[in-house]
């Protein structure tokens, strides 16, 4: 149990997928302009990442490893994740329309998100168990959401400031992301 908590904390803070691993930069920049969007995106990622982490673990353990097809991992995962997201979208639309309306446009947006793909590959490379995979996927997603929402808050404030022309928008965004990332390095000693 203790191990799982440590794993969780390290996934959220120490190895934060956005700020320490620098994966998922496009949604990080693209959906962080408005708090509202950032929150929507964060929830969509939590949802998809947990599902994707588990299903890819199953595919990996029971098919790829078993038949020695490890070299097909990347392409197999892409296919599986994409289909999964499509499936989930259809499922939600029919069965839980309220949730569908909330996550709406974000679901298809993360179909090919490298953060999702990255976490699935990390899970496999680290040879996590099924439970560990579940915890790591969930906490990576929480870390993603945390960083995204923090960053959106900062960017909304940046709007109020006078930013020199060459630094406006994405440039100042990247610089800010760098600074937040430095701050996250302080967590390094935690685990």
């Amino acid at each position: 149990m203790g191990d799982l908590i440590v794993l969780g904390i390290s996934c959220i803070f120490v190895n934060n997928i956005l700020l320490a691993q620098y994966l998922g930069n496009c949604p990080f920049m693209g959906t962080s302009k408005k708090m509202e969007t950032a929150v929507g995106m964060a929830f969509a990622v939590v949802f998809v990442l947990v599902m994707a982490g588990l299903i890819t673990w199953v595919v990996n353990t029971y098919v790829l490893v078993k038949y020695g097809l490890g070299f097909l991992r990347t392409i197999a995962f892409i296919l599986v994740i994409a289909s999964l997201v499509q499936f989930v979208e259809m499922f939600l639309k029919k069965s839980i329309p309220a949730l569908y309306a909330g996550l709406g446009i974000f679901l298809p947006l993360i179909t090919t998100n490298c953060a999702v793909m990255g976490v699935c590959l990390i899970n496999v490379n680290e040879e996590y168990t099924f439970i560990e995979t579940a915890v790591s996927s969930l906490t990576y997603a929480i870390g993603f959401g945390l960083a995204l929402i923090l960053f959106a808050g900062v960017r909304e404030k940046i709007l109020l400031g006078r930013v020199p022309k060459p630094l406006q928008d994405t440039s100042i965004g990247l610089v800010t992301a760098g600074l937040i990332s430095l701050a996250f390095f302080a967590f390094k000693g935690m685990v």
Binding site: L72, A76, V80, S83, F87, M90, G104, L159, G161
Partner: protein, 697 residues
């Protein structure tokens, strides 16, 4: 190798089949038009339209919640295609544009000095910001940074200016502005906007019963943009040629310049641009919102009816005007004489209003040729009553029905009809004429009589000159033209000769006593001071009220229409002008009693606003903070520093000798040079800000 190929095939097939089965199982019926509409949207998922992405926007369009032109990126072609999919007109909803309402900018004084804050939102969080004005622009440009379309820029004067070409009405600027300086409105919303207590309004604009943006049109004149000035006036007043001639300009009484100097000649500037348009030989286009499919009947084609019809038409309703007289215009055609408002000018003005697509049915009298009940049963959705005040009050003295005695409105309309060829009922004019009354009608009677060649014209009034309700300029003009005035005289009897023709007027001399409720000193008769005045024609022009007998021939429902004790049509609320019958609205003289042209025009617009609310299924109500004739306290000054006195533009007039022999227009229009000089006298006021004169040290 074989395993790898088999695996990939297997994975592909299973993913494919799972998805296809899922799409069957989880199939949700979706209007096929959604996909079609979405294909025409820009696909940018920018959210600029206010919906969460393009598919959400497409859903809203199909549900009818968003107009075909919802996409702010895709442009007009896309809107046309979407409209075709939906089978509607392209612009069922009008485009929105943003406007900045504050012109204070750097003119505004600062209350506090803040260091280092460079965002309006941050600034306003500290004691509402640095400006003295509670509503004014802070000038740090949050709106400019928020605009994704580059449609806003900071002007040299320190307030934002909207580039209407680029603005898509997304509302981003409005959301960030902490001071509500920016407003996003459609043309209809702008046309029907009423002055509110939180608005940036100059004292003159607060006073104008039609709520015209006076500083704006004067600024446009100053910039040589005469067409812009005409359009600005037309947003509030469709009768600018007429008002420019006959309006007693209550706005000028509140002109801030007038506190230290002579007020700006606001109305003459209006006339100047109005005449400019007429003489330019072309009409400026007047745009109307897309048709709404609702029909409104406007009864009475006077200023109130014309104004109401014009605004209703512009917001997209189908309007028919019904009028009892052979031509439209009401009192400004049949009451106000030719020498003040030439019929040619009026004709041009009314034509322009009708050209927006209003149908006029003349020689059609309510209560005789049709009833309100019959209008409703023939498919009109609402009715506007603007039938004016056409019933002369009488003196109630002995002998006032003798031959040679007339009443004011009756005399003026009969004469006007004869003069413009509507009838061949020529009236005999006396040599020694007496007109009783002190209002506009009395003055118009005496000045008309002078022009008709009466040898002596005497105006008899109960009080003194200072109390005469007629326009001051008119009284002066009548004096110049040789009218005699008998003040403090109360008629008691008309004496006739043996043929039953009036011969003399007997009156009692009066003196001024204690002030009455209205603050005017009440005249009291002097005992035994009966005096006789010779006359062979007598006109009583002591006021008039609405003729409401039409009710009697109407349905039971209409018979219950509320009437006040002054015989005017009662309103639930003087701002909404709705009557006790929800689909009937009223304004102008029939609602207020005899009043002014601008008052009728303002009322017509307010009624149009309420009718529009009524037809859109909204609750008919006045804005919570409607200013409605009140003034914003902080904007009314005691003194105005920084003014250098400069004479106001003198109105050019026809010389007296020339004008008393004909009906040519007496008052002339300003020369362009003089108009420009006059426009420079305007201080461009807002609530608190104004421009000090350059010459003031």
């Amino acid at each position: 190798m074989l395993e790898a190929i088999l695996f990939m095939l297997g994975l592909g097939v299973s993913c494919g089949s799972v998805l296809s089965i899922a799409s069957k199982v989880f199939y949700v019926y979706e209007d096929p038009r959604i996909a079609e509409v979405e294909s025409y949207l820009a696909g940018a998922n920018c959210g600029g339209c206010g919906y969460a992405g393009c598919s959400a926007a497409a859903v809203a369009v199909v549900k009818g919640e968003a107009p075909p032109n919802v996409c702010i990126v895709a442009g007009a072609d896309a809107a046309a295609n979407i409209a075709a999919v939906m089978g509607v007109e392209v612009g069922t909803a009008e485009p929105l544009t943003s406007r900045n309402t504050c012109r204070g900018g750097d003119r505004a004084d600062d209350k506090f000095y803040y260091m280092g804050i460079n965002s309006c939102r941050a600034l306003s969080a500290f004691y509402e910001g640095k400006r003295i004005c509670s509503i004014g622009c802070l000038g740090l440009g949050d709106c400019i940074r928020a605009c994704a379309f580059d449609a806003l820029k900071m002007s040299d004067q320190g307030y934002p200016v909207v580039d209407e070409e680029k603005c898509v009405g997304c509302g981003a600027c409005l959301k960030v502005c902490p001071k509500n300086i920016l407003e996003i409105k459609t043309m209809s919303e702008r046309l029907l906007k009423l002055n509110e207590a939180d608005d940036a309004l100059a004292p003159c604009q607060q006073t104008c019963p039609a709520e015209i943006d006076i500083p704006k049109y004067i600024r446009q004149i100053r910039d040589g943009n005469y067409e812009g000035a005409v359009n600005t006036i037309r947003e509030r007043n469709p009768l600018l040629l007429s008002c420019g001639r006959v309006c007693p300009h209550p706005c000028e009484n509140y002109c801030r310049r007038g506190i230290e100097d002579e007020p700006v000649s606001i109305n003459q500037l209006k006339r100047f641009v109005a005449d400019y348009e007429m003489n330019s030989g072309k009409r400026l286009p007047i745009s109307c919102a897309p048709d709404t499919g609702k029909k409104v009947a406007v009864i009475g084609g006077g200023p109130a009816g014309l104004s109401c019809a014009y605004f209703l038409r512009r917001v997209g309703h189908a309007v028919t005007i019904f009028d009892d007289n052979p031509k439209l215009g009401g009192m400004i055609r049949y009451g106000i004489p030719e020498y003040r408002l030439p019929k040619k000018v009026l004709e041009w003005e009314i034509d322009g209003i009708l050209k927006t697509g209003i149908v006029a049915k003349t020689n059609f009298k309510l209560g005789v040729d049709f009833t309100i009940g019959s209008l409703i049963s023939s498919g009109f959705d609402a009715v506007f009553l603007g039938i004016g005040a056409w019933k002369d009050y009488t003196l109630r003295v002995e002998g006032e029905n003798l031959e040679g005695c007339y009443t004011g409105i009756n005399f003026l309309t009969r004469f006007a009809k004869w003069q413009q060829g509507d009838s061949d009922d020529e009236m005999p004019i006396g040599n020694r004429c007496v007109v009783i009354g002190g209002g506009n009608t009395a003055i118009d009677c005496v000045r008309t009589l002078i022009r008709l060649g009466a040898q002596e014209v005497n105006l008899v009034y109960r009080r003194t000159r200072a109390e005469m309700p007629a326009n001051e300029v008119e009284i002066v003009a009548a004096e110049h033209e040789g009218v005699k005035f008998t003040f403090l005289a109360a008629p008691t009897k008309v004496v006739g000769d043996e043929n039953g023709h009036c011969k003399q007027l007997e009156y009692l001399k009066m003196e001024l006593g204690e002030p009455d409720a209205s603050g005017r000193r009440r005249p009291v008769p002097i005992e035994g001071s009966e005096t006789l005045l010779d006359c062979d024609m007598l006109i009583t022009a002591i006021g008039q009220g609405p003729e409401i007998s039409f009710k009697e021939n109407d349905t039971e429902r209409i018979k219950n229409l509320g009437i006040t004790r002054w015989n005017t049509i009662d309103q639930v609320n003087p701002i909404t002008l709705q009557t006790n019958i929800p689909y009937i609205f009223t304004a102008g003289d029939s609602a207020t009693g005899a009043s002014l042209v601008v008052e009728a025009i303002g009322g017509g617009r307010r009624a149009a606003r309420s009718i529009h609310q009524y037809l859109s299924g909204e609750e008919v109500k006045a804005p919570e903070k409607a200013l409605f004739k009140k003034h914003i306290k902080e904007s009314i000054f005691e003194s105005v520093p920084g003014i250098v006195q400069e004479k106001r533009a003198e109105m050019p007039e026809l010389p007296v000798q020339e004008r008393i022999t004909c009906f040519d227009e007496t008052d002339l229009v300003l020369e362009e040079k003089e108009a420009l000089r006059e426009s420079m006298r305007c201080l461009q006021c807002c609530r608190l800000c104004y421009n000090k004169d350059d010459k003031a040290a």
